[in-house]
C-alpha cells in the first residue's frame, strides 16, 4: 500500500475517493410494550422491508450497497485454552481452580442491543443522511413509511424531528470504518447504473449486428447511440435496486 493510502486511513477514515462508508450502531430501547420488546418490533420491521427496486434504500440517492441488522450481543469465542500462562498454571498446579478460572478474561456482554446500519455510497455524509431523511419511503400494506419507522425504537430518537437533528443523531452513533474497501468505482450511482445498462445493451448490439458491412454497422451503431443516449444519465438506464437486465 502506498504511503498516502496508509495515511488516508487515519486522515479520512471513511472514504475511498468519492465513495464513503457509513456504519452506525444505534442502541435500541430496553422496553417491552404489550409483551413485545422494542428489539423484536425493530427486527421485524427490518425483515419486512421490501427489496430490490422496492427497497427504501433504492430511493435514497447514491446508495451502492447497504444493510440493516440487529446486533444482539458480542460474539463469544470460548475459553482461551491455548494461553501460555494458563498452560503454565496447569503444569504447576500451585493455584486453586478458583484462582485459575478467575485469571481468565471476563466474558463481555452488551448493555443493550443495537440497530446496525452499514452503507457504501457516493458523495459526502451530510448529503447522504439528508437524502435518507427526505427520500426513504416504502409502502407497508397501504401505509407509507418513512425513515423514522425503522429507527423510532432507538434510544433518544424521539429528539429527532428534522433532517438536521437526524444527521447529528446518526453521526453520534457512527463508528469509523478504518479499512474501507469499495467494491465498485466511486462514480455517482446514476453513472454506475448507466454504465451497467450500456454494457448490457452493447453486448446485445454486438451480438445482433455481427457480420454486417462497415456501412450497415455504422448505421446500426448510430441508431443504437440514439437509443441508449450514453451521455444522458437520466435517459434510458437501469433503476436503483435493479438486479436483472
Amino acid at each position: 500500500m502506498r504511503f498516502m493510502d496508509t495515511l488516508n486511513i487515519f486522515l479520512k477514515p471513511n472514504s475511498s475517493g468519492n465513495a464513503t462508508a457509513l456504519t452506525t450502531l444505534c442502541p435500541i430501547m430496553n422496553r417491552v410494550v404489550d409483551g413485545e420488546s422494542s428489539v423484536d418490533i425493530t427486527r421485524e420491521r427490518c425483515l419486512r422491508l421490501p427489496i430490490h427496486e422496492e427497497s427504501p434504500l433504492a430511493k435514497v440517492p447514491n446508495t451502492y450497497l447497504a444493510r440493516l441488522f440487529i446486533l444482539d450481543n458480542v460474539f463469544y469465542e470460548s475459553l482461551p485454552g491455548g494461553d501460555s500462562v494458563f498452560n503454565f498454571s496447569e503444569i504447576t498446579s500451585i493455584f486453586s481452580d478458583k484462582a485459575r478460572l478467575g485469571a481468565l478474561p471476563q466474558k463481555d456482554q452488551l448493555k443493550s442491543k443495537y440497530l446496525v446500519f452499514s452503507s457504501n455510497f457516493h458523495g459526502d455524509l451530510d448529503a447522504y443522511l439528508r437524502g435518507m431523511w427526505d427520500k426513504w419511503s416504502y409502502d407497508d400494506n397501504g401505509q407509507q413509511r418513512d425513515v423514522r419507522y425503522i429507527w423510532e425504537n432507538c434510544v433518544a430518537f424521539d429528539g429527532v424531528t428534522d433532517s438536521s437533528s437526524f444527521i447529528s443523531y446518526m453521526k453520534r452513533c457512527q463508528l469509523n470504518s478504518a479499512l474501507f474497501f469499495n467494491g465498485s468505482t466511486d462514480d455517482s450511482l446514476q453513472e454506475q447504473l448507466k454504465a451497467l445498462y450500456l454494457k448490457q445493451e452493447f453486448s446485445k448490439f454486438a451480438a445482433a449486428n455481427q457480420g454486417k458491412s462497415a456501412a450497415d454497422l455504422q448505421e446500426a451503431y448510430k441508431a443504437f447511440i440514439d437509443q441508449v443516449q450514453p451521455s444522458n444519465l437520466s435517459g434510458p438506464s437501469w433503476v436503483p435496486g435493479q438486479c436483472e437486465p
Binding site: 453486448s203 454486438a206 451480438a207 445482433a208 455481427q210 457480420g211
Partner: protein
C-alpha cells in the same frame, strides 16, 4: 509411490468404462425393497455375480458384467444401522430431484417431467448389466429376474420412457436399455446423438493403471508441467484425496465405506432436431463453417475428437487427421488428450466456453500467471468427475426432438456436492470462474426461452478480427430422471446382505 488398489474388492464400473472394453450394450434395472430380510437375501444373490475391478486378460474377460448400487432410502430399507445411516452426506440423503435448484433442473428438466419411475420415492437398488451383445445382457437379466422371483422381497420398478420390443413408444418399461451408436455401415462408433465423439478425456487416478501414457492429459498437471494420476480419494472412499485427507463423505464403519464411491445417474434427452436446426442457422453467420462451429461448442471436432486447441482451423485439422490416421493406437490416444490451454489462454483456438474446457480447464484458471497456485490445476483437481454411461434410443428423425434418445450419463466421485454438483452449477450453468459472466455451456446449459443464452468465441488479441457471438441458444439437453447412488465395495455388499454391519 504408486498405490496398489484392492481391485478384487472394488466394483468394476468404478475403475473401468465398460464401453471401451467392448461392452456395447447395457441394461439398467431399478428395484424397490419391500422386505428387509428378503431384500438382503436378494442383495446376497446378486453380489455373487457382481463384477470386480480385477484386471482382465484376453482369456479372463467376461462377456457380461453386473454391478449394484443403492439410494439412501434403499440403504434404509435394507435396514442399515442408524449409526451408519447418519454418516452419509446431505446431497446423497436428499437425492437428485430435491437438488434441482443446484443442478438447474428447471423448465422441461424439472422432476415433474421426469420418467414415471422417478415420480415415486421408492427407487432403492440400481443394477447395471453391461454385455458384449444384447443376448449376453438378456441372459443375465433373466438370471436377475429369477432372483427377484426366488426371494420375493424386492420389486422391479417400471416407468421408463422408451420403445418396447416391438418398437412402440411406452412410458412404462421395466428397464432402461442403452447402447453405443452404430455408423451408417453398421460399425460400432463412439458417437452420441449430436454426432460428437464421446468419452475421451476421463480422469485417471492412482492405482487405476500402470500405463503412464494413459495419464497424459487425463491426470493432474504438476508445476513442472508433467501429468500425474489424481489422488485415488477423489474417486474412491477410504483413500487420500487431493487435500491429503480421507473423504469426509464416508459413513461408518470403515468397512462399509472403504473402496466405495458415489454415483450420479442422469437420463439426459437430446433435442436432436433443435440442435441440427440451431447448428444450421448459426453456421450461416459463422465464418468458419458448420463443423468448426460444432467443434467450438465442444472443444473437439465431431468426426474424430481432435482437440481444437491443436486444430483451430481446416488446415491444421487436415494435418492432424493425416498424422492421426497414420498413428498406432497409443499415439492416437495421446494425440486426443495431450494438451493444455497455456498457448490459448484467450480462447482464440478453443473458446473458454467450450464444453471440454469448462468441465476440465486443465490449469487455465491460472490465466497464464505461472505459479498463481500451488500447481496449475489446483482449482481443477478437486472438481474432476469420472464419466460412465452410454447413449440410449435412436434419433430416427434428425429434424425432430420427439422420441426417446439421449445419454445415460453416470458420474462417479467421492463427493457429489464438491465435484459433480459444483461442475454442473458453476461450470455448466454459470461462467464467473471463466470471466464469462452468466454464459452457460452451449450443449448442456439449462438455456431458457425467457432469457436466451449467448456465448462468445474469442479471437487472437491484436488480430483485428471481431469476436463471434452465438446467441439465442435453445435448450439442447433435458433431464428425464435420475438419482444419487452409493456403490459399495464387494466386502460391504456382503456385509449389507448379511445384516452384519457394525458401526461401533
Amino acid at each position: 509411490m504408486t498405490q496398489n488398489l484392492d481391485l478384487t474388492d472394488i466394483q468394476g464400473n468404478i475403475v473401468k468404462a465398460y464401453g471401451s472394453f467392448g461392452f456395447f450394450k447395457a441394461r439398467y434395472l431399478f428395484l424397490r425393497v419391500d422386505n428387509g430380510d428378503k431384500g438382503r437375501d436378494f442383495v446376497a444373490r446378486i453380489t455373487s455375480k457382481v463384477t470386480s475391478a480385477e484386471r482382465w486378460s484376453k482369456s479372463s474377460a467376461p462377456s457380461v458384467t453386473t454391478n449394484m448400487a443403492f439410494t439412501y432410502s434403499g440403504l434404509e430399507a435394507l435396514e442399515l444401522p442408524t449409526a451408519s445411516l447418519i454418516g452419509f452426506p446431505e446431497d446423497f440423503v436428499m437425492g437428485m430431484s430435491k437438488r434441482k435448484v443446484i443442478l438447474g433442473d428447471d423448465g422441461p428438466s424439472d422432476p415433474e417431467h421426469w420418467d414415471k419411475i422417478w415420480q415415486e420415492e421408492s427407487v432403492h437398488i440400481w443394477i447395471s448389466i453391461n454385455g458384449k451383445s444384447i443376448e449376453d445382457v438378456e441372459e443375465r437379466y433373466q438370471w436377475v429376474s429369477k432372483q427377484i422371483d426366488a426371494t420375493g422381497g424386492v420389486s422391479l420398478l417400471k416407468g421408463h420412457r422408451g420403445e418396447d420390443a416391438f418398437g412402440n413408444p411406452s412410458d412404462d418399461l421395466p428397464y432402461q436399455d442403452a447402447s453405443i451408436l452404430y455408423d451408417e455401415n453398421g460399425m460400432p462408433s463412439s458417437k452420441e446423438h449430436f454426432g460428437y465423439t464421446d468419452g475421451i478425456g476421463d480422469p485417471v487416478f492412482e492405482g487405476q493403471t500402470n500405463n503412464e501414457k494413459r495419464v497424459i492429459g487425463r491426470g493432474k498437471l504438476t508445476s513442472e508441467g508433467e501429468w500425474v494420476p489424481l489422488a485415488t480419494g477423489e474417486f474412491i472412499l477410504g483413500h487420500l484425496d487431493e487435500a491429503m485427507e480421507y473423504p469426509h463423505t464416508a459413513p461408518r464403519p470403515d468397512l462399509l465405506s472403504n473402496n466405495a464411491t458415489y454415483m450420479v445417474y442422469r437420463k439426459l434427452h437430446q433435442n436432436v432436431g433443435t440442435f441440427n436446426k440451431f447448428l444450421d442457422e448459426q453456421s450461416k453467420v459463422f465464418p468458419g463453417g458448420k463443423e468448426l462451429l460444432a467443434a467450438k461448442f465442444s472443444g473437439r471436432w465431431r468426426d474424430n475428437g481432435a482437440p481444437l486447441v491443436h486444430t483451430p482451423d481446416e488446415a491444421s485439422k487436415a494435418d492432424w487427421d493425416k498424422k492421426f490416421a497414420a498413428a498406432d493406437v497409443p499415439t492416437q490416444k495421446k494425440m486426443l488428450t495431450d494438451f493444455t490451454y497455456n498457448e490459448d489462454i484467450e480462447g482464440a483456438k478453443c473458446p473458454v466456453s467450450a464444453h471440454i474446457r469448462r468441465i476440465n480447464p486443465r490449469g487455465s484458471l491460472e490465466y497464464g500467471v505461472k505459479g498463481a497456485f500451488n500447481t496449475p490445476g489446483a482449482l481443477v483437481d478437486r472438481r474432476r468427475i469420472l464419466r460412465r454411461g452410454l447413449p440410449y434410443g435412436k434419433a430416427k428423425d434428425q429434424t425432430s426432438d420427439d422420441g426417446n434418445h439421449g445419454i445415460i450419463f453416470m458420474v462417479l466421485n467421492a463427493d457429489i456436492n464438491r465435484q459433480f454438483e459444483f461442475v454442473q452449477q458453476q461450470w455448466i450453468n454459470y461462467a464467473n470462474d471463466f470471466k464469462l459472466g452468466n454464459d452457460k455451456d452451449v450443449l448442456l446449459g439449462n438455456h431458457s426461452a425467457k432469457c436466451p443464452g449467448k456465448v462468445v468465441f474469442e479471437v487472437e488479441p491484436g488480430s483485428g478480427k471481431p469476436p463471434h457471438f452465438v446467441k439465442n441458444i435453445p435448450r439442447l439437453v433435458e433431464t428425464r430422471g435420475g438419482d444419487y447412488f452409493f456403490i459399495p465395495s464387494i466386502t460391504a455388499l456382503k456385509m449389507i446382505a448379511g445384516g452384519i454391519i457394525d458401526p461401533t
